[in-house]
């Protein structure tokens, strides 16, 4: 069997919130560290509330990101506004760092007239052209060759920007993972492929997904850089994405980043992890490694954060969220026209006819 190269796992902040020997915090203002920590806390407040909302039947579906927040919050911070992100679906922290408002996020979940997608997709499929956040689609891995294409376009347009695709380790089994990395490698596209290896693809564990020792080694076969990072270490994530970005814009090609993390939440509101894993044995050790836990300790040690501040912030987040939900619940659904628009740039005859049929039916039912 071919021997895979040993790839170290990049780490800066240990599980106790202490900097590793010789390691230093990436170049960033202290206020930014606090802000990113606050974003992580905010995501947790949102996840917990939205999960309950789904159980109450107030929203159709939700996907939480507990335990993985540092992967996307850190990545978005390390990128520049002109960089494009192709999310998978469990990276809403990146959206908030980039500037998607909480109201826009909640409106998408409700599919109301404030939803940028005009109410066309199920929850967790946000996106914003203005923010260079490519709208999420459900099929796994399709964003990977797309990201390679966008990165190539940036390259030939000579832009100082990169395209980054998020995905999970399960998605690396898809053909599109192979296609995307291969194309990006061949064309030396300024792309970053960010794999959140969270251990589980719904119920399927890592070792049932691949016989490879890890995900990052797969980069070797594509002739691109492959690196591993502690995905629960915000500083290490920022550092490694910055390095990958630098490599890309300098014309040195794409990077596959494997971020080691753990999906403490269920896959989605439709999933029951107790059927396939043990909370104590499987999840237990990772609860101690959560990004929020170690950041809280680090900031506390630096005198930058207190439990009082945390309580106040969580209360503020909860209030902002409840206000946003209230607004979303009271916002009407999109006009019926939105059902037929955007198939093409113009409505062809068949859609015009079908729309007028629907209007007739709705009128007969007194609904219009």
């Amino acid at each position: 069997m071919a021997k895979a190269p040993k790839l170290p796992v990049h780490q800066i902040l240990d599980e106790n919130g202490e900097l590793l020997k010789g390691a230093s915090v990436p170049d960033m203002p202290k206020e930014d560290i606090v802000e990113l920590f606050k974003t992580i806390l905010k995501v947790r407040v949102i996840d917990s509330r939205m999960f309950k909302m789904q159980r109450q039947g107030r929203i159709a579906f939700y996907m939480a990101t507990q335990g993985e927040e540092a992967t996307h919050v850190g990545t978005a911070y390390a990128l520049k506004p002109q960089d494009w992100m192709f999310p998978q679906y469990r990276e809403h922290g990146a959206a908030f760092v980039r500037g998607l408002t909480l109201q826009q996020f909640i409106n998408q979940i409700f599919g109301n007239s404030g939803d940028l997608n005009k109410g066309r997709q199920m929850p967790m499929h946000w996106g914003s052209r203005n923010l260079n956040l490519v709208t999420i689609s459900s099929p796994l891995g399709t964003q990977i060759p797309q990201c390679a294409g966008a990165a190539y376009a940036m390259k030939i347009k000579k832009k100082d920007s990169v395209a980054l695709a998020f995905f999970g380790e399960g998605t690396t089994s898809e053909g599109d993972f192979h296609a995307g990395l291969n194309f990006a490698g061949v064309y030396k596209a300024p792309a970053i492929f960010f794999c959140r290896n969270n251990g589980w693809a719904i119920s399927t564990p890592f070792h049932r997904q691949t016989a490879a020792e890890n995900i990052a080694v797969k980069a070797v076969a594509y002739g691109i850089e492959g690196v591993r990072v502690d995905g629960n270490d915000l500083f290490a994530v920022i550092d490694i994405v910055r390095q990958a970005r630098e490599r890309a814009v300098k014309g040195n090609g794409p990077t596959l980043i494997e971020a080691l993390t753990y999906r403490l939440s269920s896959h989605s509101t439709s999933d029951d992890p107790s059927a396939y894993r043990s909370e104590e044995k499987d999840d237990g050790p990772w609860k101690l490694k959560e990004p929020a836990v170690r950041l809280r300790k680090f900031l506390g040690n630096q005198g930058l954060w207190s439990m009082k501040e945390e309580q106040d912030w969580e209360k503020a987040c909860e209030k902002e969220l409840l206000d946003a939900i209230k607004v979303a619940e009271n916002t009407p659904k999109p006009e019926m026209d939105a059902l037929f628009e955007d198939i093409f740039d113009e409505l062809p005859w068949n859609l015009r006819e079908q729309k007028s049929q629907l209007i007739t039916f709705l009128k007969n039912e007194g609904k219009r």
Binding site: L116, R129, I156, A179, F183, D342, F344
Partner: protein
């Protein structure tokens, strides 16, 4: 005006669009240095460089997904799938991504692009070099489908497809890539999409086809004329969204219709046309609309003659509608 074959006309259209719009790029398997196995992209790399015309790894889903990313960023990709028989690995990217991007994002992320691909039989290609898969893609809202029938048509329709703001699948009838010749202006011109062409006026039966079959239909019409039957031959040109006005008007006039295509009959696009034309023109029809198509088999290597609709078979179908 020079005489061109279809490949020359397509190549000419690509050169013109490269010259006019720096955002147009072309790529596909063997599309770069070699200029494509059918030579459609010949000379583009030489003239415009490897950044705008390049070889793709052999990976159809990659080609489609990569084109999506290029289009998203504002380039105008003209991707080539070497044979439409090999497009199925890209089906997910085409149907779930390219067709849906504008809709699912509320209009934020349209992906205007062209995917060119040779299709069709009559070339001793057997199962995997002869398919006519257009109807699979007609079932996915959001993609236009265009099929030219001769060099003049191919150039004007391709230029219109490249300028269109939607994704376009451009199926090229490879059987007549070189055999079909026409006077083709060297200047830029477009043939509008979604407009069918009445290639020959007639009064008794409307005969609808597209691509290479259009020529078979013309031959069938000649046979019919010899027997005193007047045929109106329509070249559909754009399959989605098709020109219902022209079809309705013709069927209302003739009261009879035969639809011809190479693809298998069941769920072929003839089924859709037949249903729609029946629904809209029932009281004008003198006979049920007939379909003369490929059989519901795979494309057979040794039975090309038996499989491929020919003028005599089409004449038989024409007579069925007249004798009803």
């Amino acid at each position: 005006m020079p005489i061109m074959n279809m490949i020359e006309a397509i190549n000419n259209a690509l050169h013109l669009s490269f010259e006019r719009d720096p955002d147009v790029v072309a790529f596909g398997e063997d599309s770069g240095y070699y200029g494509g196995v059918f030579r459609a992209t010949k000379g583009l790399q030489e003239k415009y460089g490897t950044e705008r015309c390049f070889d793709a790894p052999i990976c159809e889903q990659g080609i489609a997904g990569f084109a999506f990313g290029l289009a998203l960023y504002g380039l105008k990709p003209v991707a080539e799938i070497q044979f439409s028989d090999y497009m199925y690995p890209a089906f997910d990217q085409i149907v779930n991504e390219i067709a849906k991007s504008r809709y699912r994002s509320g209009g934020q992320w349209p992906v205007p692009m062209v995917i060119r691909t040779p299709y069709g039989g009559g070339i001793n290609g057997g199962l995997y070099h002869s398919q006519s898969p257009e109807s699979f893609y007609t079932h996915a809202p959001g993609i236009k489908i265009v099929i030219p029938s001769d060099p003049y048509e191919a150039k004007g329709l391709l230029l219109a497809s490249i300028k269109d703001q939607n994704p376009v699948l451009f199926f090229e009838p490879k059987k007549i890539y070189r055999s079909s010749k026409a006077d083709v202006p060297t200047d830029y011109y477009e043939i509008p999409l979604s407009k069918a062409r009445i290639a020959k006026e007639g009064s008794q039966v409307t005969l609808i086809g597209w691509g290479a079959i259009h020529h078979v239909n013309m031959d069938a019409a000649k046979l019919a004329e010899k027997e005193g039957i007047s045929i109106e031959v329509i070249d559909l040109r754009t399959i989605i969204p098709y020109d219902i006005e022209t079809l309705d008007a013709s069927v209302k006039k003739t009261g009879r219709c035969v639809i011809v295509h190479e693809a298998p009959r069941t769920s072929g696009f003839g089924a859709e046309l037949s249903a729609t034309l029946h629904e809209r023109n029932m009281l004008h029809l003198h006979a049920p609309i007939q379909r003369m198509t490929g059989w519901d088999t795979h494309y057979p290597f040794s039975f090309d003659y038996e499989y491929y609709p020919n003028p005599k078979r089409i004449l038989w179908a024409i007579k069925q509608t007249l004798e009803f």
